[in-house]
Structures are given as structure tokens and as C-alpha cells.
Amino acid sequence: MHIPDGFINAPTSLAAGAVAAGGVGVSLRRAAQTLQERQAPLAGLVAAYIFAVQMLNFPVAAGTSGHLLGGALAAILVGPWAGALCVAVVLVVQALLFADGGLSALGLNIINMALVTAWGGYAIFLLLRRFLPATKASVTVSAGVAAGISVVLASVAFVVEYAIGGTDAPVGTVFAAMVGVHTLIGIGEGIITTLTVGVVLGVRPDLVYGAADLQTPLVLGPKSGETAGEVR
């Protein structure tokens, strides 16, 4: 889902760069407040894992593939602020070292794949958890569904950018095509996210930011997750 140079015009790309910089700035400040020193290796691992899994394109339809975006997964594992930063790190490394994602489109790509998926995905995750019992099973299911929807949100974000600064193809057609194929890719994202969160919950449940409330059964609701989940 990496936008190359040229898909979106320069003024829109530039404006997106400013928006992305603002979003990264907010994430840095919020992560600075919530992230504990011992969590740095875990957050680095989440970024590295997302880089690895983004290489694994899976087929979704004839002649089309998809890959993990990872923002929702990262947000559920290390929180929405550090999670957005994890994907932003991946995108910067990909653009600079692997020529994947245009340099002029870096802001667009950070908005779509880091900010929208991490923040949007985490908001959906919290919403789903509100309606489900406080169990590990609820966390894995909510994580998968939220991750799947986050991919569709990212594709909608691209269409918005395309509507503002794209080429001549009709926006309605691009919208239908993007949302259609990314609904399929979202299913893959949901499966990978469910598996990953499930494994981490099985091995080290204390490391899952979005399940921190399960560690302290006296406090109900995912809001208590703000302080727990440190690496021990």
C-alpha cells in the first residue's frame, strides 16, 4: 500500500508531510509520557516484526496481493502512540533503504499506514472491547476485527488524498476499487493480527498494552491499560 512518487501531486504531498509530521510529533510527546524505559526493546521489536511481516505479500484475488500494515497490531501491543511510531519507523526505513514508498509520498504513507491504522485501529479495538467480556479471547477477537477495519480505513484515507491531489480517474471508481480489494486484504490483516496477539497473550500477557486491564482484575475496562504493560 506504499504510494510511490507521482500518484498524488506535490502540494497535496507537501501538506500531507506537514500533517504527518504533526501526528508523529504528537505521538512522540504522548509516547514519552506513557512509554517506560524498559519498554524500548519491545517497541523496537514490534517495528522489526512489522517490517518482516510486511515483506510477506499474500494473494487476495487474481493478480493481486496484500500485506500487513501493522498499525493496529502495534497499537494493541505497545499503545496507539508508540504503535504509530513503530510503523513510521518501518516506513522511513523502507523508503530510504528499499526504495519502497516515494520520498515525496512519505507523509501520505505515514498518514495512511501509521496514523490512521494505529489510532483508528486502536479506537475500534477499545470500542469492541467495551461490548465484550474482559477475557483474553475478547482481546484477540477485537484485535483481529479492529485490524481488518483499519486496513479499509487506510484505503479510504488514500482515496481522500487522491480526491484532493490525484490524477484523472473518477474518485468514485477508485473508492469502490480500493475499498473492495482492501476489504479482502483486511481479512488477512485480521488473521495475522489475531495470531500474533494470541501468541503474545499466551507467552507474555503482561506485554500486551491493550490487555493490561486483564492483569489487574480489580480495575475494569481497558482505560486502566495506560500504566501497565511494562517489560519485566
Partner: protein
């Protein structure tokens, strides 16, 4: 321990499984091809970089080339992430640099 195990998993995926990944265009690129958007794409500034396109320049076995580029990518991403998250705390406002004790 968890981080070491997780890194091994990431390295394994990027080195060994990546060779089996689909080479079809991803959703965005397919839509761009189908609707004439792809024609407006410009070449990446680092198109000829040593790791461009997840291949190591000079390594001619495709699977090996992808695998090594994946290994490098995982290690670089981990390093950059670790550095970022280890230093992000300097942004914490105010003189209180202690561990957070309450939700913000």
C-alpha cells in the same frame, strides 16, 4: 528473552518465508494499474540503491537476495526503533523523569 525470541521469529520470516511471498502487485498498485494512475508514478530517487526493491545488489539468487535484504531490514528497523524509543523520554515535559505512576 522475549525480545530475543521475537527477533528470531522476525528474522526467520524476513529471511526464509519472504521468498515465498506473492509477487503480484498489492491492492493499491493493482488499482493504480487498472485505473490509469500508475502511469503518473515517478522513479524512486533511490531506485538504484544497494537494497532497492528488497534485493541485494550483486546477489543473483533471488531468494537469497530477498532473504539477506530482509535480514538487514529487520536489524536496521530494530536498531532505529530501539534508539528512538530509548531516547523519546527526553521529550517528557517538566523536571519529573520518573516512571509514570498514573494515567495521563
Amino acid at each position: 528473552m522475549f525480545v530475543v525470541g521475537g527477533l528470531l521469529v522476525a528474522v526467520g520470516l524476513a529471511m526464509l518465508v519472504s521468498g515465498f511471498a506473492s509477487s503480484s502487485p498489492d491492492g493499491l498498485n493493482k488499482v493504480a494499474e487498472d485505473h490509469g494512475i500508475a502511469a503518473s508514478a515517478r522513479q524512486h530517487l533511490f531506485e538504484n540503491g544497494p537494497l532497492a526493491g528488497y534485493a541485494v545488489k550483486g546477489v543473483h539468487n533471488d531468494r537469497l537476495s530477498t532473504g539477506i535484504s530482509g535480514l538487514i531490514g529487520v536489524l536496521v528497523t530494530f536498531g532505529v526503533g530501539l534508539l528512538l524509543f530509548a531516547t523519546v523520554r527526553v521529550l517528557r515535559s517538566g523536571p519529573d523523569r520518573s516512571e509514570p505512576t498514573r494515567a495521563p
